[in-house]
C-alpha cells in the first residue's frame, strides 16, 4: 500500500471522526451522517453500474427494503441493532438475488425498466402492506443502543463512520480481487467472459447481491439516522439521484462515490439559498461560454455542438433571476445536471480531474517476485497418450431458420495435433467454433470432448472442462489492462471465497501472488510482458490477437480454438505467431486453427478439414487437401464447362 495514500486516508478518517466534536451542531452532524450513508449505497451501486455496466433503477427500492427491514423488526419485535443491521443486509441481499433473475436474461434498457418496475413494486407494497409497515403513516423509531447504552447523535455518527470504512475496505478488496475482474469482464464482453469460464449468470447475481446488501445496510442505518421512515422517501427521484451521484462522482472509483454522495446531499441545501444559486448559475454560464469559445477557436467544436451548452447555461442564469423560490424547481435542476454530466462529464469529476492533471488511471501494483511457468502440461494428457481422439463431432447440424450453416459435419481431432479448418468466407467455420464452445446449441448431432458430451452445456462449463478459444473479431475486456485480461482467464484457479477476500486471509493473498506471477509469465510467453499494464483497447490490433491467445492459455486448456489468429498481422508478426503456436502444441495442447493464410495452415497443420456451404468437402494431410479438386473449385470457382 502506498504510504502517501495511507497517511491521507488516515487523516481523512481522523477529520471525519473529529467532525462532530468540532462542529457540535446536530444539523451538520446529521448532514455528514447522511452523506456517509448514501456513500455506502453508492459503493454498491457502482459495482452494478460502473463495473458490470448495467443500469439499475431499483436501488432506492433496495434502500427502502433495508430501512423497512430494520423498522419492522424494531416495531414488531423491538429488535436490537446487532439483529436489525445483519437482518437488513441479508433480506436486501435476497431481494437483490430476485432482482438479478430477470437481469440474467436482459441488459441495457430492458434491465433499466425491470429494475424500475421492481422499485415501483417495492414502493407500492410498502404503502399497501399496512399490517406490516404501517403504510403511509410510516414508522417512528429511536437511535439504537449498543451494549445497554443508548447511542446519542454523535455516537451513532461514529457507528456509521465505522461501517462506512468497513464497507469501503470490503468493496475495495472485492473489486480488486478476481470477483471484481469478473464483474468488469461482464461489461467488456459477456461472450468472452463465458468462454473464459467466468459464468455471466453467476457473476451478475453476485454483483447484484453484494450491491443490494450494501444498499440494505445503508437503508437500515438511514432508518436509525432519520428516526422516521415512510414509503415516499424511496421513490424514483431518489433512484435517479443515486445514479446521478455515481456518474457525476466518477465510475469505478471509491473517491467518486464519496464525492457523488456529498453533492447529492448538499446540492438541495445549496438550492434552498436563492442568492447562492444565482451566483452559481452566472459563474457556470461564464465558465461554459469561455470554454466553448476556446473550443471553437481550436476547432474542437462545431458551432452546432457549442450552441446547446451556451444557450442552456445562459438560460439557466436568466431563469435563476426570475424565480422566486428554488425548491419547486429542484428536480428540473437535477435533470439538467444529469444531462450535463451524461454528455460533458462522462468520466465524472474524478475522471475529469485525472484527465486534466494527466494522471493515468492507476492500475494495481505489479510485483513479480515469484517466477511461474506459462504453460503447465495439459491435464489429462497422460491418460490418453498422444494419439487418442480428443474431440469427436458427429453429424453436427446447425440451422438458422431455413439456412443450414452446418450440414451434417463430422470432425475428429487427434490429441496433440494441430487441426486446420479452412474454407471460403461463410462456409461455417466460425459457426463450428461457436457450436464447440456452447455459444450455439446445434440443431442435431453430437460433440464429444475427451469422452464426454459437450452439447447442452453452458459455455462457461465447457470452457472449464478444457476448451479455450480466441475470437475472429477480437473480444477483449477493453477497459482492463493486458494483465487483468489474462487474470480473468486464470479465474478458474482462484479458490478463495468472499471471506478470504474481505479479510485478506493468507489463502487469497497467496493465490493472488501466484496467479499474478502466472499471468506475467503468460504475457511473456506471447511477448507482451512490456505492455502488461496497458489497457487492452489501447493495444495495436496484432497485439490484441496475441493477448487473446495468452488469455485463452490461462484456462489451461486441453484444446485451443484459434479463430483467424493471423488476420491483420504483419509478416514478421506472423512468423512470431507460428513460433508461439508450435510452442503451444509442444506443451501438449491440441489446437484447432481457422485461418485464411494458406502458408500458415500448410506449415503448421497435421490435418486439414475443408468446409464449403456448411458441408465438409475434404479432409486429409495439408498437401492432399491442397491438391484436392473440390477444394480448388470451392476457392476459385468451378470450371466453366
Amino acid at each position: 500500500m502506498n504510504v502517501k495514500k495511507l497517511v491521507l486516508g488516515a487523516a481523512a478518517i481522523a477529520a471525519l471522526a473529529a467532525f462532530p466534536l468540532a462542529s457540535g451542531n446536530p444539523y451538520y452532524i446529521h448532514l455528514v451522517e447522511t452523506i456517509m450513508i448514501y456513500a455506502i449505497v453508492l459503493f454498491g451501486l457502482d459495482i452494478v453500474v460502473g463495473y458490470t455496466g448495467q443500469v439499475s433503477l431499483g436501488h432506492a427500492g433496495l434502500f427502502g427494503i433495508g430501512a423497512y427491514t430494520a423498522g419492522v423488526l424494531i416495531l414488531k419485535l423491538d429488535a436490537p441493532v446487532y439483529v436489525t443491521l445483519p437482518a437488513a443486509l441479508a433480506v436486501t441481499a435476497a431481494f437483490g438475488a430476485v432482482l438479478a433473475l430477470p437481469a440474467l436474461r436482459v441488459t441495457g434498457p430492458y434491465l433499466a425498466m425491470v429494475t424500475l418496475a421492481f422499485g415501483t413494486i417495492v414502493q407500492i407494497l410498502i404503502n399497501e402492506m399496512t399490517f406490516l409497515t404501517e403504510g403511509p403513516m410510516g414508522i417512528t423509531l429511536t437511535k439504537p443502543s449498543l451494549f445497554g447504552h443508548a447511542l446519542d447523535e454523535t455516537e451513532f455518527y461514529w457507528l456509521v463512520l465505522a461501517l462506512l470504512i468497513a464497507s469501503l475496505v470490503f468493496v475495495d478488496r472485492v473489486l480488486r480481487s478476481q470477483l471484481g475482474r469478473a464483474f468488469e469482464a461482464l461489461r467488456g464482453s459477456p461472450v468472452a467472459s463465458d468462454c473464459m469460464g467466468v459464468s455471466v449468470y453467476r457473476y451478475k447475481v453476485y454483483a447484484f447481491v453484494i450491491s443490494a446488501a450494501l444498499a440494505g445496510l445503508a437503508g437500515s442505518l438511514y432508518a436509525y439516522s432519520e428516526q422516521y421512515i415512510s414509503p415516499n422517501t424511496y421513490n424514483f427521484e431518489l433512484t435517479v439521484m443515486f445514479l446521478l451521484a455515481v456518474i457525476m462522482g466518477g465510475r469505478k472509483t471509491r473517491t467518486g462515490a464519496l464525492l457523488g454522495a456529498t453533492i447529492i446531499v448538499l446540492l438541495p441545501k445549496l438550492l434552498d439559498d436563492l442568492q447562492m444559486f444565482r451566483t452559481g448559475a452566472v459563474v457556470l454560464a461564464v465558465i461554459v461560454v469561455a470554454s466553448v469559445a476556446v473550443g471553437l477557436k481550436r476547432g474542437k467544436l462545431t458551432k452546432q455542438a457549442a450552441a446547446i451548452p451556451v444557450v442552456g447555461s445562459i438560460a439557466l442564469a436568466a431563469v435563476s433571476f426570475k424565480l422566486e423560490t428554488m425548491t419547486d424547481w429542484r428536480l428540473s435542476i437535477f435533470g439538467l445536471i444529469t444531462l450535463f454530466v451524461v454528455y460533458y462529464l462522462q468520466d465524472g469529476i474524478v475522471g475529469f480531474v485525472r484527465n486534466a492533471l494527466n494522471l493515468k488511471t492507476k492500475h494495481e501494483r505489479d510485483t513479480t517476485a515469484a517466477k511461474a511457468t506459462a504453460l503447465t502440461r495439459a491435464s489429462g494428457q497422460g491418460q490418453g497418450g498422444n494419439d487418442g481422439e480428443l474431440l469427436k463431432a458427429n453429424g453436427v447440424l446447425m440451422q438458422f431458420g431455413g439456412l443450414k450453416a452446418l450440414n451434417n459435419v463430422d470432425l475428429v481431432v487427434q490429441r496433440g495435433s494441430i487441426h486446420g479448418l479452412i474454407g471460403p468466407n461463410g462456409s461455417g467455420k466460425s459457426t463450428m467454433m461457436n457450436v464447440l464452445t456452447g455459444i450455439y446449441q446445434p440443431t442435431a448431432g453430437s460433440v464429444l470432448f475427451a469422452g464426454t458430451s459437450v452439447t447442452g452445456r453452458t459455455s462457461s462449463d465447457i470452457a472449464l472442462s478444457g476448451i479455450a478459444r480466441t475470437f475472429q473479431n477480437v473480444q477483449l475486456f477493453g477497459e482492463m489492462t493486458a494483465l487483468q485480461n489474462v487474470l480473468v482467464g486464470l479465474h478458474h484457479s482462484f479458490k478463495s471465497n468472499l471471506i478470504d477476500i474481505a479479510l485478506h486471509l493468507p489463502r487469497y493473498l497467496r493465490e493472488d501472488r501466484e496467479q499474478r506471477a502466472r499471468a506475467h509469465a503468460l504475457l511473456e510467453f506471447v511477448g507482451l510482458e512490456s505492455l502488461a499494464s496497458e489497457e487492452a483497447r489501447n493495444l495495436p490490433y496484432g497485439k490484441q490477437r496475441l493477448l487473446e491467445i495468452a488469455r485463452a492459455l490461462a484456462l489451461d486448456p486441453q484444446l485451443l480454438l484459434l479463430d483467424e489468429p493471423a488476420a491483420g498481422l504483419t509478416a514478421p508478426d506472423i512468423k512470431e505467431l507460428l513460433e508461439i503456436i508450435r510452442k503451444i502444441r509442444g506443451a501438449g495442447v491440441t489446437v484447432i486453427l481457422i485461418e485464411h493464410h494458406m502458408d500458415v495452415v500448410m506449415s503448421l497443420c497435421d490435418r486439414v478439414s475443408v468446409l464449403d456451404f456448411g458441408q465438409k468437402i475434404a479432409e486429409g494431410l495439408p498437401a492432399e487437401v491442397q491438391a484436392n479438386e473440390k477444394v480448388i473449385e470451392a476457392y476459385l470457382g468451378g470450371q466453366a464447362v
Partner: protein, 291 residues
Amino acid sequence: MQILTQLVFSGIALGMIYAVIAFGYQLTFATSDTLNFGQGDALMLGALVGLTLVGLGVNYWLMIPLVCLFGAVQGAVVERIGVRPALKIKSEFGWIMSTIALGIIFKNVAENVWGRDDLKFPSPLPESPMKFLGANVLPMEILVIVGAVGMMLAVEVFNRKSIYGKAVVATFNDRDAAKLMGINTGLVITFSYALSSLSAAFAGVLIAPLTLTGATMGAVLGLKAFAVAIIGGLTSGMGIILGGIILGVAETTTGFYLSTGYKDVPGLVLLLIVLAVKPAGLFGKTAIKKV
C-alpha cells in the same frame, strides 16, 4: 357477471391506452434501438396541454390535432437533446439517463405550471353509461378504443404504403445500409420520436376524461405500457393490442376484487416474469446474436 363484463370492458379501454403508448415505444425502438423513458411524461404533457386548450374554449375535437402537433414537437425535442448525442457517441447509458432526465424535467415543469393536484378533464361525450351486453359502458370508453385502434392503423398504413414509411422500415432493418442508400436516417429517427410522442399525447387526451389529469399521471402509465410492449414484443406489430388487453383487464379486475392500491402490481409483475422467462416477448422473435 354484469360487473365482470363491465370490468372487462373498462379493462379493454385501458388496455388500448397502454397499447398506444407501447406502440410509441415500438416506433422509436424500430428506428434507433432506443426508447424514451419519458414516454409517460409525454402522455401527461399531452393531457395537460389539452386541458388548458379546452379551458381556453377550444372544442375537444379541434383540440386533438393541436395536442398531436404539440406532442410531435415535444418528441422531436427529446430526440434532439436526449437521444441524438447519445447515438453519436454510441452510449446506451447516455440515452437511458438523458431521456429519464428529460422526463423528470417535464414532470417538474408540469408540476410548477399546472400545480401538484389532479385536475378533472371535462368529458366531450355524455357521461351517462350506455347498456352494452347488459353492462354499463361509458361512451368515452368506446371512443378510446376506436381512437386507439384508428391511430395505430393509420401509422401502420403509412409505414407500409408510403415511400416515407419505407424509409422508416429500411432504417429499422439496417441503419447503416439505409444511410448509404441516401436515406436521412437522422431525420427518420427524429420523425419516429415525433410520432411516438404524438401517439402518447393523443393517448393522453383520450384517457384524461376517464381518469384524473395531473403531473404524476404519466410515470406508472409509461412503465406499464412498457410491460405491454414487452409482452407484445418490441418488434411485433399487433401483439401489443393483445398485451394491452391482457394487462388492462388484469388491472381492472385486481383493482375491483383485491384493492385499488394493488392495481399496478399485476402489470409490473408480469413485466418481471416475461423478461425473466422470454425476453423477446410472447409474440416477438428471438434474435440470433452473432459472435
